[in-house]
């Protein structure tokens, strides 16, 4: 009936609609404002410990910058988790998913479009925020005589943190696909990202196994520095298990 109609459902249009949907949420703008503020705060707080050459000791410039960027992304990830969760959970506020699915009955296409938007937004926001964070930390690093790193090294360190942030956002998205609720999504993801590594670290000596490497936050960082390590299947498992469970749930359950 509609084969001759320019009015039709396509993936680029779906992505454009999801982008509009996200940016018409007030919580999205709260996250956009919070992300650079948190990133700058985290980077500056970390850079303070390197601002005095006497206190910094024999820490290399690379270690100092790595620490500053990691602190920046470590705080920034909270805003990204909220953003990724809200991108999906907003559909379940008052049952808006029903209207969405009437317009877009291909449920997996809808999820894919949302995932694309979350990935792009998380990449840009993380990149911008971490760059701002580093800029905020620079005066303190200069004060501590931390030598500037070569462009290639900087780019690699920067890429690891941005990549980590994107994986965290995708993990939050996958978990929300399963739990369909903002509070549960944010709580579970922040618990997994912020606490699990510490908990597993405590049990390491008991089982005589590097349990810590199984934590999402450990693997999601390591996968960017050593992609062929055990981190890859660990990250894949953390992302795929909730994503597949959520997708099956979405397809099989009544809206």
């Amino acid at each position: 009936m509609t084969t001759d109609s320019p009015v039709r459902l396509t993936m680029p249009r779906l992505i454009a609609a999801e982008w509009l949907k996200l940016r018409t949420l007030r919580s999205f703008w709260a996250c956009v404002v919070a992300a650079p503020v948190l990133a700058a705060g985290g980077a500056a707080a970390s850079a303070l410990s390197f601002s005095d050459p006497d206190l910094a000791g024999d820490v290399t410039a690379r270690d100092a910058v790595t620490e500053v960027l990691a602190s920046s992304s470590g705080v920034l990830q909270i805003a990204l988790v909220v953003l990724a969760v809200v991108a999906l959970s907003c559909e379940y506020t008052g049952g808006a998913i029903r209207v969405t699915l009437v317009g877009v009955p291909r449920r997996l296409s809808l999820v894919a479009a949302k995932a694309v938007v979350v990935t792009v937004v998380a990449t840009l926001l993380a990149g911008l925020s971490i760059a701002l964070g580093y800029a905020a930390a620079l005066p303190l690093l200069h004060q501590g005589d931390v030598a500037p790193l070569p462009y290639g090294t900087m780019q690699a360190l920067f890429g690891v943190e941005v990549g980590y942030c994107v994986l965290v956002a995708l993990f939050a998205f996958a978990v929300t696909l399963t739990v369909r609720n903002t509070a549960a999504g944010v709580g579970l993801v922040l618990g997994a990202v912020l606490l699990l590594r510490v908990v597993l670290f405590m049990f390491d000596p008991l089982v005589r196994f590097d349990l810590q490497s199984l934590a999402f936050s450990t693997a999601a960082t390591q996968v960017w520095t050593d992609p062929l390590s055990r981190a890859l299947p660990v990250v894949a498992a953390w992302l795929l298990i909730p994503a597949v469970a959520g997708a099956v749930n979405l397809i099989r359950r009544d809206a």
Binding site: R13, L20, T93, G95, R98, L101
Partner: protein
């Protein structure tokens, strides 16, 4: 909008075949089949819990049927290239994100199909929401949400409309408005299914009625057919000897109900039969008329005992 419908939309047909939905042991919808033709307004009536909303939700793929299917021009809803162009659906008006404006709600839906923002603005004007278009939907009244839901259903200029209780929350002017709107949309060649649990709401609007009770189709017929098949004919008669006439009528197994003004409501005999009987008995009749059967009566007859 008149004149913009193309020939292809006139060919649109929606076929529902044996739709059944079970929730555990409860059968909400059982073997429901019907066909919606272009240009016809179909009323979808039944008591609360009859399965109307569940049926519509299955038609647009929101609920998975236990068995059966719905085809729109031969395809399931989920496989349509442009679902909003084929079917406009108004289901749950509460299912709109309360934090967005009415305009943004429409623009998001429009964008999925490449429909221009201007179309959203046209529809906001048509449903009378221009002044509130920038307000958050959370602050809308039920009637405003209904109007916004209607605008969303019309966004793709669809060939068919599935409207679940669209008059809920509308004021009398709004109800008159929606009746004329539906009439105009049907004249443009659209197939329309409009549900309600209130027969009176639909009586003046629809061409056909599909009556649902306890999840089953109790009737699927034109209004005239439905009334002639199901409404009980009543003869209103007034005489100087009501007691004697009542006795005679009851002897012939007619049912007689006495009214406070002394007149009788007779069922089981025609007005002619009553007149002949009275004439032979020498009873003078002041009045003897057949009361026109109402759709409401036909509906009540059909659905009696079919409330959940």
């Amino acid at each position: 909008m008149a004149g913009r419908r193309s020939v292809r939309s006139v060919l649109t047909v929606i076929e529902v075949h044996g739709l059944t939905k079970k929730y555990g042991a409860v059968r909400a919808v059982h073997d429901v089949s019907f066909r919606l033709e272009a240009g016809v307004i179909n009323g979808f009536v039944g008591p609360n819990g009859a399965g109307k909303s569940t049926t519509i939700r299955m038609m647009v793929g929101l609920d998975r049927p236990t068995s059966g299917h719905c085809l729109i021009d031969g395809r399931p809803y989920a496989r349509l290239a442009a679902p909003l162009r084929a079917v406009g659906a108004l289901l749950d008006v509460e299912a709109i994100h309360p934090g967005r404006s009415g305009r943004d709600h429409l623009r998001i839906l429009a964008r999925t199909h490449g429909i221009g923002a201007r179309r959203a603005d046209e529809l906001l004007e048509m449903v009378g929401l221009v002044g509130s278009a920038s307000r958050r939907v959370g602050g809308y009244s039920l009637g405003m949400r209904q109007r916004l839901g209607l605008a969303a259903a019309l966004l793709g200029d669809p060939a068919a409309l599935l409207l679940d209780e669209p008059a809920n929350g509308l004021d009398p002017d709004g109800i008159i408005w929606i009746r004329s709107l539906l009439r105009g949309l049907a004249r443009e060649g659209r197939a329309i299914l409009v549900s309600s649990h209130l027969m009176g709401e639909l009586a003046q609007t629809v061409d056909r009625l599909i009556v649902l009770g306890r999840g089953r189709v109790l009737a699927d017929a034109s209004l005239a057919e439905l009334v002639s098949r199901n409404a009980t004919r009543v003869v209103h008669t007034r005489t100087e000897q009501p007691d004697r006439l009542e006795l005679l009528l009851r002897e012939r197994e007619a049912a007689v109900a006495r009214r406070p003004d002394g007149s009788c409501e007779v069922t089981g005999m025609t007005a002619d039969e009553v007149a002949v009987l009275a004439h032979h008995a020498g009873i003078l009749l002041y009045e003897n008329t057949t009361v026109p059967a109402s759709l409401e009566d036909a509906y009540l007859t059909l659905t009696r005992g079919n409330n959940r």
